[in-house]
């Protein structure tokens, strides 16, 4: 045990002292938040340059009340100038674009389909959709008024619907919550895959280093190869978990700091077209509180604990394979032929997870693959936010534990023989033979 501790400590310290580990650990949350801020900032900058939109209104409808000038868009009525002249103005670059609204003489339907937009550069789809909505709203209001229904009545007939769904185990969710769950589930599943690949590779490189530097035989004359392999895996797992904790803590801190800043700026958001779009699509300010409530309603602690469980299980399972591969070969270039069987189930798990969790998180495909040990850690993590029956969780964890114990045992046999083999690139047949040495 004393020796195992020494090995774990050396592997852990060796890993966390590494410059790339430090950079990755502390920089990635900063980068993630930074990227978010950058995108936020860029969209703001983009929107800040107010566009001047000219419009020619040949109908008798009053569009002034919909074409309201905002911080980002300025609407100018150029009906007096006529379409041809206005187009020349656009070509000269005086306005960003020209909206032409024809006469309603041929009926509102004809009008609706012959509204045109003219500009030097093609506008964004979002902007066109925004214009379409403005015109459609106006036409709708006009038509309803014609039919004798007041704006007040219309407003009274508008409802924001948010379906609250619950299942037999009493877990409640809504469409909004569902989106969050999908995001969190996919995120944690994907993160786990990345962790397994990054740290599994690190275990493998470590083994190869010991082999090529020829220190391996000195070490295993003091400790059992199994202890060495286990120490390596645990040491790397600890480094991985440390990185995970640091990320969570940093993200929480940075997230709080950033949201304070962004919160101040939030008032400005009210006037941007995207905000208007949000409002029109039923995204009211009060929904922000909803969002917060939904996040808090998620089984966050459960997800956190299970992430750690599945990380350890999945990592042990895969990193023992990585260790065996490292032991079998002489250099990293020789690992290619053995990597496929490792990467395949991981990729499969992520794809199955993405596909099934989106469509049917508790369907048979998702259930089966969240119980099969090689895919369970990733698929199950994706399912957890949606609520998974306890027996499935237990079965999946039990199978994962059994198979990682089995895999560590098999890998240790290959490892034990492989670390002393030099020169020949082994085949799968050789590996099988080594099991019996």
């Amino acid at each position: 045990m004393e020796k195992l501790k020494l090995i774990i400590y050396r592997e852990f310290i060796g890993k966390v002292r590494n410059k790339s580990f430090i950079i990755l650990t502390f920089l990635s949350p900063v980068l993630m938040i930074g990227m978010g801020l950058l995108i936020f900032y860029l969209t703001k900058v983009n929107n800040n340059s107010a566009k001047e939109i000219a419009y020619v209104n040949e109908s008798s409808l009053n569009f002034e009340e919909v074409f309201v000038t905002t911080k980002n868009t300025k609407y100018i009525d150029v009906t007096q100038l006529g379409v041809a002249f206005s187009k020349e103005e656009i070509d000269k670059g005086h306005y960003y674009g020209l909206v032409t609204i024809p006469s309603e003489a041929n009926g509102l339907k004809e009008l609706a389909s012959s509204v045109a937009f003219y500009s030097k550069e093609a506008p964004s789809i979002l902007f066109l959709e925004h214009l379409e909505k403005l015109v459609a709203n106006k036409l709708k209001a006009y038509k309803l008024k014609e039919l004798g229904i007041s704006q007040k009545n219309i407003n009274a007939a508008n409802f924001a619907v948010n379906i609250k769904q619950s299942n037999s185990s009493g877990e409640k969710s809504s469409k909004l919550g569902n989106g969050l769950k999908i995001g969190l589930g996919m995120g944690s599943g994907y993160l786990l895959m990345m962790f397994i690949i990054i740290y599994g590779n690190s275990v493998m490189r470590n083994v190869i280093e010991e082999k090529t530097s020829r220190i391996i035989e000195i070490i295993i004359s003091s400790v059992k190869p199994f202890q060495l392999m286990l120490g390596k895996i645990i040491g790397n797992a600890c480094a991985g978990l440390l990185q995970f904790f640091v990320w969570i803590v940093l993200l929480l801190i940075l997230g709080t700091v950033v949201s304070l800043f962004v919160g101040v700026e939030f008032g400005d958001l009210q006037n941007t077209p995207s905000k208007e779009l949000m409002q029109e699509s039923g995204f009211k300010a009060e929904e922000l509180t909803n969002l917060l409530a939904e996040i808090l309603a998620l089984p966050l602690l459960k997800m956190f604990v299970l992430f750690i469980f599945y990380f350890i299980g999945g990592f042990f399972l895969y990193s023992s394979i990585y260790a065996a591969i490292g032991a079998a070969v002489d250099s990293e270039t020789d690992t290619q032929q053995f990597m496929m069987p490792v990467i395949m189930p991981l990729m499969l798990a992520v794809y199955i997870g993405f596909a099934s969790v989106l469509s049917d998180p508790n369907g048979p495909v998702a259930t089966i693959f969240s119980i099969i040990p090689f895919t369970s850690s990733i698929v199950m993590l994706m399912r957890i936010p949606f609520g998974v029956p306890w027996w499935e969780l237990l079965l999946s964890l039990l199978l994962l534990t059994l198979s990682f114990v089995g895999m560590v045992w098999v890998a240790a046999k290959i490892y034990r023989v492989g670390i002393l083999m030099y020169g020949k690139k082994p085949t799968y047949k050789d590996l099988y033979k080594w099991l019996k040495y």
Binding site: R214, I218, S221
Partner: protein, 320 residues
């Protein structure tokens, strides 16, 4: 087993067999290593020496047979009693020298304080104290070899095993290490050398075992084996004017062969066999009659020669 024998052997290997798949690496091999001796495990590449050593180090497990260390069947706690310098040896390239030596020493069961104290002693002895914070990749090969040696002996093992000890050592280091090994032997440590370059260790060995094709061919005290395999061949140098004539005269009386020893003056050099019926004194007197002797030495068979002889004898026995 009587009480006396019990005491004098530190390592006893009985009927050891090891297979790798269909390949038999060791076949029913038994050897006994006396306490406080330097024991040479000699044999060509692939004879099974490294397999044997790895089993003594519990890196490999035997298929059958038993290994006794200090009269106890080999067990995990014996690891701290053995120091092993493998043929394929190296160190962590990016770890600091001191850190690494401490780590390896502690894996052998030393406490941090013990290990530090002993490391200081050896580092001072080899005058390398300023290496402590260097990384191995900054050291030359010879420097790294010193560290490897220190790490091997640091936990004061009862049994030291060196696989191909002097391969890759420069002459200065080889001499330094050789001196330290003899000093350790004199302090009571038992030492096993394993090598295929038999000439490199035969001067130092007290006992040898010859291994060939997974089996032991010969074992015993070096001096006794040399005596058993001596050929009564003498290297003779005679000062004379007409070398051809003298050589002819000698060959009419004795069996001669071409010699390959060096001499400073231009004399006739020959290997002359002592006839079985003649005693050494008469032989010497007879030779002096041909001219003044500049060289007269009994040719000691080298381990290489003994090995070849023993293997061919064995083959004769098998085919007979």
């Amino acid at each position: 087993m009587n009480a006396f024998l019990k005491d004098i052997h530190l390592l006893k290997i009985e009927n050891l067999t090891k297979n790798f798949g269909n390949y038999r690496a060791l076949n029913n091999l038994s050897i006994q290593v006396p306490k406080g001796s330097i024991y040479g495990l000699l044999g060509p590449n692939g004879a099974g020496k490294t397999t044997l050593i790895r089993m003594v180090n519990q890196i490999l497990l035997p298929d059958s047979g038993t290994i006794y260390l200090d009269n106890e069947p080999l067990a995990p706690e014996h690891i701290s009693m053995i120091g092993y310098l493998p043929e394929e040896r190296g160190l962590y390239k990016s770890m600091k020298v001191g850190e690494q030596a401490l780590y390896l020493a502690r894996l052998k069961g030393l406490t941090k304080a013990e290990a530090t104290e002993r490391l200081n002693y050896w580092f001072e002895k080899f005058e390398i104290t300023d290496w402590w914070d260097k990384k191995i990749q900054e050291l030359s090969k010879g420097m790294a070899q010193k560290i490897q040696f220190i790490v091997t002996v640091l936990h004061q093992p009862k049994l030291l095993i060196f696989d191909e000890p002097f391969s890759g050592f420069d002459p200065v280091n080889a001499k330094l290490i050789g001196k330290e090994i003899i000093a350790l032997r004199d302090q009571g440590t038992t030492i096993i050398f394993s090598t295929h370059r038999m000439e490199s260790v035969e001067e130092m060995c007290d006992y040898v075992a010859l291994i060939h094709k997974s089996e032991k061919v010969l074992e015993g005290p070096l001096k006794k084996i040399q005596l058993d395999y001596k050929t009564n061949l003498f290297e003779v140098g005679i000062q004379c004017l007409d070398k051809e004539k003298v050589q002819k005269e000698i060959s009419s009386e004795f069996l001669i062969s071409e010699a390959n020893f060096a001499s400073l003056n231009d004399s006739l050099r020959l290997n002359v066999s002592l006839p079985p019926e003649m005693d050494q004194h008469t032989f010497f007197n007879r030779l002096t009659s041909f001219g003044p002797l500049t060289h007269f030495t009994e040719k000691i068979p080298t381990m290489n020669e003994i090995f070849l002889e023993a293997v061919s004898k064995r083959n004769d026995k098998i085919s007979a």
